[in-house]
Symmetry: C2
Subunit: 347 residues, 2 copies
């Protein structure tokens, strides 16, 4: 009788991937020595070191991360969590900058960044299980609207977490890195006042984000300080271009005589410019426009935007620093990054 032919799969799925024991055997040393080589090679003779390295190459050994993590309780990876409808973020050039700077900062510590999405409730549940199951050593949170249920869950599990922007409702418990939104807004509005504007409106961000709240607060502070408080000049936007355009239209209707507007993001400011243009107002001649973010958009608009710069590379670096220190057992901290007025042509 002919032998049964070997099933096809056998070739694709090697019976067993080499373990540390296979390497040890091939190198003629013990498991312990191989492990030492794997972890920095302290207290290993040159001969052993070389034998192990050769054996690893020969066997094609790759460490089994699960086995390692099981004992070290570390996974050498952290999650970068988007719990926002994705499109909005991907559209934002600043998001790319932040993502990139976090990746770089983590790379220095040989930690992999995992970008995870959670748009639906279902997603969020699975993600919660994933994160608290020990898959990652910590989490970086962006776009933290208040009421994000992931925050308390991770906090309760003791998973190190750092938010980008004040996590409304958890400022005391979760670490975060935020730009000095209030001061930036104050700088901008003060600048508008100093350049002679008297009827200054604002388009805010969503008021369930700290950026939305704080920038509005800064606007109010600057105006109250100068006794030029002007209620009714506030319109709410949602950080989108279309939202900014619509808000600007409302503002023009409610206060046709306004001569300046502080917009809480560059993208919304771009929309506001469109609305002003359609309404026949010149910028900055009739109406001065101030943005926020100093994103790539700011230089692409006509005219280029006077705006408030927040350094995303720095924010990313600080987030990573805070996260790593928490992973090392430090208690959570908050960092506020200063903001800076950038004068261009729109104001």
């Amino acid at each position: 009788m002919a032998p049964v032919p070997e099933p096809r799969e056998t070739r694709r799925r090697p019976a067993r991937r080499p373990t540390i024991n296979d390497v040890a055997a091939a190198a003629g040393v013990s498991r312990g020595t191989v492990s030492r080589v794997l972890n920095g090679g302290h207290d290993v003779s040159d001969a052993a070191q070389e034998a192990v390295e050769r054996a690893m190459r020969k066997t094609g050994y790759v460490v089994n991360q699960h086995a390692r993590s099981l004992v070290t309780q570390r996974s050498q990876s952290v999650a970068f969590i988007l719990s926002e409808p994705q499109e909005r973020l991907f559209e934002d050039p600043n998001f790319n900058v932040l993502l990139h700077s976090c990746t770089q900062a983590l790379a220095k510590h040989d930690i992999t960044l995992l970008l995870t999405l959670a748009s639906s409730l279902e997603d969020r549940k699975r993600l919660g299980r994933y994160l608290t199951g020990g898959h990652v050593d910590g989490a970086l949170l962006v776009s933290t609207h208040s009421g994000n249920p992931l925050i308390p869950e991770l906090l309760a599990r003791g998973l190190p977490v750092v938010a980008c922007g004040k996590p409304l409702g958890y400022e005391r418990q979760a670490a975060y890195v935020a730009a000095d939104d209030r001061d930036g807004a104050r700088q901008m509005v003060t600048y508008l006042i100093e350049s002679g504007r008297r009827r200054i409106g604002t388009i805010t961000g969503p008021l369930d984000t700290s950026g939305g709240v704080e920038r509005l607060a800064g606007y109010r502070e600057a105006l109250a300080l100068d006794g030029a408080d002007s209620p009714g000049l506030v319109a709410h936007g949602d950080y989108t271009r279309a939202g900014g355009e619509a808000a600007m239209r409302r503002l023009l209707e409610a206060a046709p005589d306004l001569d300046a507007v502080f917009v809480a993001s560059d993208l919304m400011a771009a929309g506001a410019l469109t609305a002003l243009h359609r309404a026949g107002r010149r910028v900055p001649g009739d109406v001065a426009v101030g943005g926020f973010d100093d994103s790539r958009i700011a230089t692409d608009t006509q005219p280029p935007l006077t705006t408030v710069r927040q350094s995303y590379p720095r924010i990313g670096a600080e987030m990573v620093r805070l996260l790593l220190s928490q992973i090392d057992g430090e208690s959570p901290a908050a960092v506020i990054i200063p903001t800076e007025l950038v004068v261009r042509e729109s104001a």
Copy 2:
């Protein structure tokens, strides 16, 4: 002597997270029973089931994924790999659609999608280690330029991989899902010919991607079939708007009499429209423009683009299907998704 105060950290980092044994003890059952509850609850009495569930709630138990993965050899997660400079992809609305459809399809199997970035060589190395270390059960690859060193590495490890678009150089070894680029291009160019165009140029994608190569091949096939071959009418683009604009300018210079152009992506086509407009050509009056992708951009241009639709939701779903079947031990396969001509106003 006063006792040394307990260090602060103790509160934040609970001494030990509860294990399956703690749950078993609290529920008055054995480890095995708890495990059975964890894995579907087969062969577990109602009383035991309930006792275990109560114990899990009481102890705040969460399964340790590393321990589980160590024995099951599965991590219930797959990587979605971007080895491209990120910005380009994030700008592409189709990318979002693909990402979303993959996430959804995986969610049905309770598998988490991990988006990983690898722009630099260094990144790629770390990512290689991460992936082959057993962290993920498989990988989805997008934007696969030929010469991506990650592909052979993952293949050699036997990690299930599915590429989006033919992975040039590894078509035989790696599974992939691709739109029928060649046929789509053929349809478009045939349509241009049939509507009476005679001097038909093309703007290609990068020729180290299968989309670039195949769409050009389709263009050539359609023209050769009709004996209307027109060498010199080919310009190369890079899938960006600016690249499309520049390529169109070159085309106009080399062949001022062209009356149609097939552009290998909608984004480049949008750039081409700008160039044509600047050159004073009317579309479609003087020059017909055909795009590819049917992305969101296609309806935003002036005039809206006649283009070739490839269904990204379907591509994502198929990628996941192929990946899961490979994880189950099937051998890699290729799937070609049909493309469809969408006639709008630009041609």
